[in-house]
Assembly symmetry: C3
Homo-oligomer: 138 residues x 3
């Protein structure tokens, strides 16, 4: 049994979902783990992770719109010192994922055919985000 | 330290929560892991996982109703080629879990007394769903 | 490779977020894992876990208010035998996390600068909650 860690730096362009599947798959392939467990961890509280459909980009647009609607700006939040989009971003992050756990079988993540791994940027301005990757197995 | 993987096939009857606790407990017992970590992973983007109360079935009904209300059909989604219930299903999956991590102590999952493991079907029609199970420990 | 388990008992004061970061960091330090994976698991269905901003306590107030608003009491739930705040608590737990997976590098959790680990109490009355901790690595 062995393990490996890495960091993924992602430049976002403001609110929206960014497909990081290719980079995550590359890490798993590079570490040559045949069977094991991958953890993807987002080191931010105004960005998050989601496994979602990778076939139709409209799904990502609809998800972005849903998260904007459910936690709108200007809804009377107490916390507003970091901008009107900051507290909604924390809420949208709380409703999605900070960490994802994905088993590995036969050297591949067990993702379904239509599952992509996404970083969700919840703030309006572009940001640099850091994702921690960890794999354990043999 | 060792690990094991398995698949669970679940036939759903349309929208609702299905208790998969027994099958998951059976996998852990079969692999004879005394201390370790179990990962349950849903290979779909319109179904998901949830740990919830297993005492009163009304809780599952209320959760189903809540998810229908928060992400209703016909809310003007761009993505509608796969049916009116498809985009709401993606949103309901995004708000719940794709993966669950449950520690094992003394050969048992550390679930609380009232915690059951549920597959949430978010689409209206019956589906066949695949869950990946992975355990690591000794 | 080795592993360790522990339990954390937390006394809550009714609805709100409680920072359990210090106790979780202490467990990781005590077990002297240099590289590995920590799992935090909440053994309840009306309390949950969240990684959120630890700088401004207003964020926790806004999150609490948001969860109260999105799953209000008295919304016509079928399940009401355990009190008007019980079903809303299950929904708020379903929308947040039952388990958190956090990688460890250089003997430290890879949490970002502003990330704290919180137990979310969703019921109105004070409760005693149990969190299971598990770490695996070397």
């Amino acid at each position: 049994m062995r393990q490996a860690s890495a960091r993924l730096e992602v430049a976002t362009k403001g609110k929206g979902l960014i497909d990081i599947s290719r980079e995550v798959h590359a890490f798993v392939a590079r570490e040559r783990i045949g069977q094991g467990l991958l953890t993807v961890f987002c080191r931010h509280t105004s960005a998050s992770l989601l496994i979602q459909e990778n076939a139709d980009p409209d799904v990502q647009e609809d998800l972005k719109h849903f998260l904007e609607t459910i936690a709108p700006e200007g809804a009377g939040y107490v916390h507003d010192t970091e901008g009107a989009d900051d507290m909604p971003a924390h809420i949208r992050a709380a409703l999605t994922q900070t960490s994802l756990s994905i088993p590995i079988e036969s050297s591949r993540l067990v993702l379904g055919t239509w599952q992509g791994i996404y970083l969700c940027e919840h703030r309006s301005a572009p940001h640099k985000r850091t994702i921690a990757l960890h794999v354990m197995g043999e």
